[in-house]
């Protein structure tokens, strides 16, 4: 008995050692690449005559430390998370949707238009407004889906080009009073602005220790849990994954690429549109005054996309990543007071994303190399 058991425990011990070595490797890689990104950012700040310590201080002040700021960070994280979730869904089906910025703008425009059109009692208004935001985003992504599955236009490009069109479409809508423009009396001295949402059409706000944030924060976290569950545990999620991994095999086993692909793309757009509607109805914190203006989307679509990429398409990981990116965003307003150009946060963000892409890629290459070495050793 003992002679049999002994090699088994050896095997176990060896595999455990291998696993912890792998974990250590992951950690070291992540640490090194994040450190590299921070180092380059610090060098940039120093090279342009700034002081990197004060920049870091300002970032923390703006995102967490100063009174009321972490509420603002939470408020900014909610739409980022929503956009990221949509991206995760379409990416799971193997589709590269990079037009969230436009889908978000159209969603916000739909929410504005229908939010004023439909009058109902209290909370119904809010639900309707959010729902139409999602519909708007889905329709805009639907254009790309139609082009992809009917005309064979790569969705990478069509979603991207539609961003430019969406911005202009919203600006066009803001020129006509029948569409989005506010009546002359409510416009003040601005010429392209929508009517302000009434208090019965705004998202309820929660205040804790002087930090207030709209309840879209809870909604987005709930959505993250639901998306994570559906993708991991439902037949629908499995089919999406199959489509993403091997479209031909999926087609053969009865998963229609047209149907599931379009659904995934449009759902991605719906989440972006929902984020737009939530920004509109949540307002106040980082996103203006409960009214639509040109350039309303304010890069939330792009940043949300980055969140999904950094989280490597896992819905729950998106939550902490969205918080980090929201903190960079709310902190950036404070950076300019240190004499360093505020756009440094865009650079930091880009470098961070690039750095976080490195470890998984390196691990993949190393694993392949090891596997090849093992097979050649065996033969």
């Amino acid at each position: 008995m003992t002679t049999v058991a002994k090699p088994a425990t050896d095997e176990k011990r060896a595999s455990r050692a291998r696993q912890s070595a792998r974990l250590a490797e992951w950690l070291v890689l992540y640490l090194l690449s994040i450190l590299g990104a921070i180092l380059i950012s610090a060098l940039l700040v120093t090279a342009t005559g700034g002081d990197w310590q004060s920049v870091v201080g300002a970032l923390f002040d703006g995102s967490v430390r100063n009174p009321g700021r972490w509420g603002a960070t939470l408020g900014a994280a909610a739409p980022l998370l929503l956009v990221a979730l949509g991206t995760v869904i379409s990416a799971r089906a193997g589709l590269v949707n990079i037009g969230q910025e436009g889908q978000l703008a159209i969603g916000a425009a739909f929410a504005t238009y229908f939010g004023f059109l439909i009058g109902g009692p209290g909370s119904v208004n809010i639900v309707v407004l959010l729902a139409f935001g999602a519909v708007g985003g889905a329709l805009w992504a639907g254009v790309a889906a139609l082009l992809r599955f009917w005309r064979g236009v790569p969705e990478v490009l069509s979603t991207l080009l539609l961003v430019a069109v969406a911005g202009q479409a919203v600006a066009y809508g803001l020129r006509w009073q029948g569409l989005l423009l506010a009546p002359a009396a409510d416009r003040g001295n601005r010429n392209q602005v929508s009517e302000q949402l009434g208090t019965d059409r705004r998202l309820p706000v929660q205040t804790i220790f002087g930090n207030s944030y709209p309840i879209s924060v809870y909604l987005s976290v709930l959505a993250a849990v639901i998306v994570a569950f559906l993708l991991a545990r439902s037949i629908w999620g499995f089919r999406l994954k199959m489509l993403g991994r091997n479209p031909r095999a999926a087609q053969h086993s009865g998963v229609s690429q047209n149907r599931y692909g379009s659904a995934a793309l449009m759902l991605g757009g719906a989440f972006a549109g929902l984020a737009g509607a939530a920004m509109l109805a949540g307002g106040g914190f980082a996103f203006g005054n409960f009214q639509l203006v040109p350039g309303f989307s304010a890069n939330i679509g792009w940043t949300g996309l980055l969140v999904a990429l950094v989280a490597r398409e896992r819905a729950l990981i998106c939550i902490p990543v969205a918080l980090v990116f929201a903190a960079l965003r709310t902190g950036s307003g404070f950076v300019s007071s240190t004499g360093v150009e505020g756009r440094i946060t865009d650079v930091i963000q880009g470098l961070l994303v690039l750095a976080l892409l490195v470890p998984p890629a390196v691990m993949f290459v190393r694993d392949r190399r090891r596997a090849r070495a093992a097979t050649t050793a065996r033969t």
């Binding site: 342009t48 080009l161 539609l162 202009q168 650079v347 470098l351």
Partner: protein
């Protein structure tokens, strides 16, 4: 007076062709390299970032030396830096090419915006070379042969690229890497190396394109100066069915939409400004909707190659 008069005016005015040629040339600089990269199997969406980075470095180069040649070389370097990151990350480390490209675009946008405020390079449009006789041709003479000199680089670059891709061993290997990487690998071609080199080439031509933007077309670096035209260049390659002739045709068509916007205002006609702003993108989308399914992409386009998988 009416719609057709407006069209007639636009098609008979020299300025339309002049502006159109500049837009087409700019797109073509980017699209030529992008075409090579796509033939090797990469949809290189960081071409936008390469153009922007090339424009910025060339502006800085000109600012420092007041020499257009140095500015061109600096532009090439700027394009190559982005290409290096894209190629190493997507075809040595096998990170997803779209993810890398998108991140690079955003990073370059932030970085050039940041550095532009710090450095604020001063540049101007370089002198015009009129080619005798040819520049006297009606309508297109000035547009094709009366431009600032970096424009004429295109007359060398495009045929040279076509020759390289279709007529050299290197070009054959590049195309093999894009069509059937497994077979290419078996026959001794280092697939990922060829793909990386194709991306470097895209960086080279896009860097030239960025420099062209500064030295010929606009004359001054601005924040987000490229404004999505890199994506139109990618669309031109797809529109052109991954052939050089089609790519040139696509560039000319999309450039027409871009310059239409300018010339219709220049001639005093009124049209909704939002429609005009989005016209190039709409034309691109509609053009692709009609032609994208008629052409055959390189078989392994956008598929990473890892030896032993698949």
């Amino acid at each position: 007076m009416g719609f057709f008069d407006a069209f007639f005016d636009i098609f008979t005015s020299d300025s339309t062709y002049l502006a159109g040629a500049l837009f087409a040339a700019f797109l073509l600089f980017a699209a030529t390299g992008e075409w090579v990269a796509e033939r090797a199997g990469t949809i290189n969406i960081s071409v936008e970032g390469m153009l922007l980075s090339g424009a910025f470095t060339s502006a800085v180069g000109y600012h420092l030396t007041q020499s257009a040649v140095v500015a061109l070389l600096a532009g090439i370097c700027g394009g190559l830096i982005v290409a290096l990151v894209q190629a190493e990350m997507s075809h040595r480390l096998s990170a997803d090419q779209f993810v890398v490209g998108l991140t690079l675009n955003i990073l370059v946008l932030g970085l050039t915006g940041f550095l532009d405020r710090e450095i604020a390079p001063k540049t101007k449009i370089v002198s015009t070379w009129e080619i005798p006789l040819l520049s006297d041709l009606p309508l297109i003479g000035q547009a094709l042969f009366g431009q600032p000199w970096p424009f004429y680089l295109l007359y060398i670059l495009v045929p040279a690229t076509a020759w390289m891709v279709y007529r050299t061993r290197f070009g054959l290997e590049v195309r093999a890497a894009g069509e059937n990487p497994q077979s290419a690998d078996v026959s001794g071609i280092d697939v990922n190396k060829r793909r990386r080199q194709a991306i470097y080439y895209a960086g080279f031509t896009s860097g030239l394109g960025g420099a062209f933007l500064i030295l010929v077309q606009i004359g001054q670096f601005e924040d987000s100066i490229v404004g999505g035209r890199g994506f139109i260049a990618i669309a031109a390659v797809i529109f052109g069915g991954w052939t050089i002739r089609g790519t040139i045709a696509g560039c000319i068509l999309f450039a027409g939409a871009l310059s239409f916007r300018l010339s219709i205002q220049g001639l005093g006609y009124q049209l909704n400004s939002e429609l005009l702003q989005s016209l190039p993108f709409l034309v691109t989308i509609i053009g692709m909707a009609f032609f994208a399914h008629r052409v055959r992409p390189p078989a392994a386009l956008a598929q990473p190659f890892v030896r032993g998988l698949k």
